[in-house]
Symmetry: C2
Subunit: 206 residues, 2 copies
DNA sequence: ACATTGGATTAACGCCGTTATTTGGGTCCG
DNA sequence: CGGACCCAAATAACGGCGTTAATCCAATGT
């Protein structure tokens, strides 16, 4: 009971913080306004998190899991490795744009603002790249993709997708460009950049 | 004389702020530590800038100019449009990594942290995309690039380069990947993604 | 009935951006 | 010369921040 309530308060803090991230953003997220929202004093949060960074790390943890679930879902829902990769690209961008409360603290917040993410949690975060690298690897073995270093290709794909998400969500992309067209072109560009010349020659018109 | 000194102080503020951006980063840049550095009180800065955002906007202005100069230099230093585009890509990444004091406030700082960049300065900032779009356009006319919307292609290229810069400088790229190889692969990917199938068939081994 | 525990609060510290007020030296004019 | 004015610059202060220290108080155990 007291354990349940303790968990309850911890969850309430996390949920409130996440909600405030969507409404006021990280720049205006404070221990004091989280506390006010749940009817406690700011210092009470320190009974459950040792610092604001610690709280954010807990949320990042959640975000990493959510993203992994969505990538996995896209992975199994498709058949060919190229379709799987493209589906994951779209899932990544969708996650970045629709769950920006997570995306912002996971990948946008500059490390200088926040203590380094604990080393022992890196492994879990890396799964989100490895699942994409695996699709690249499979494509190579299927003869659809060129023989590239899968991890290099995955990181490069990540950079493309990350750029698309951040430029779109910070409204830096030219307004005359339709966001859907932009995302579409980006995802196809990621995949087609891996095609063998033969596979490429047979692709449909852009 | 008094005019020169006034300009001198304004310059001193800008230079000190820029230097602090490289040493302590935006998160720890404050009106008070800028002032301490130049031996004035914090409030004196308000005689030259109406707010911290205003000061940062002035620095962004400088950064936009510096980037434009470097892109232009890369543009004229090469001959074929594909070489020009690739040279500009490399110049962009170099700017992002080496002048990160500018890059951070220009393209990384989330808009929620800072007042919107004044509309009348957008035009100048847009030149940095248009110069790349022009290279795409030229490549199309030369028959080297596929017939794509130049502005869409430029923004997509920008997203790729921006992703590379931000992931590298926030140390989020897998440590086993050589940064130079990463940048290299990224820039070539941007360019080769635009090639016509014929031009692509004749490219060298990856 | 008393001591102990531990969740929760208030007070306080040193930062922050910014505004209001005050200082103080120079210049202009009667 | 003396007083009015100006204006760069400083100090004080406001409300907000993350965080720590001290305090309160109700429930628990003996």
């Amino acid at each position: 009971m007291s354990e349940a309530e303790e968990k309850g308060l911890r969850r309430a803090i996390l949920d409130t913080a996440r909600q405030l991230l969507t409404t006021v953003g990280y720049a205006h997220l404070s221990m004091r306004n989280i506390a006010k929202e749940i009817g406690y004093s700011a210092t009470s949060i320190y009974l459950h998190f040792e610092s604001k960074d610690d709280l954010i790390h807990a949320l990042i943890d959640e975000g990493v899991d959510v993203l992994f679930r969505e990538l996995s879902q896209a992975d199994v829902a498709s058949s060919s490795s190229e379709q799987r990769l493209e589906a994951m690209c779209r899932a990544y961008v969708r996650f970045g744009l629709e769950r920006s409360e997570y995306y912002g603290i996971m990948y946008v917040l500059h490390p200088e603002y926040i203590k380094r993410y604990p080393v022992d949690k890196y492994r879990k975060a890396r799964r989100n790249l490895e699942i994409m690298a695996q699709a690249v690897q499979d494509g190579i073995e299927a003869g659809v993709f060129r023989k590239v270093e899968p991890m290099l290709a995955a990181n490069l794909a990540w950079a493309q997708l990350h750029g698309i998400v951040t430029l779109l969500s910070s409204e830096r992309v030219d307004k005359r460009i339709d966001p859907d067209v932009f995302v579409d072109a980006g995802c196809r560009h990621v995949v087609s950049g891996l095609f063998t010349p033969e596979r490429l020659a047979g692709r449909h018109a852009s």
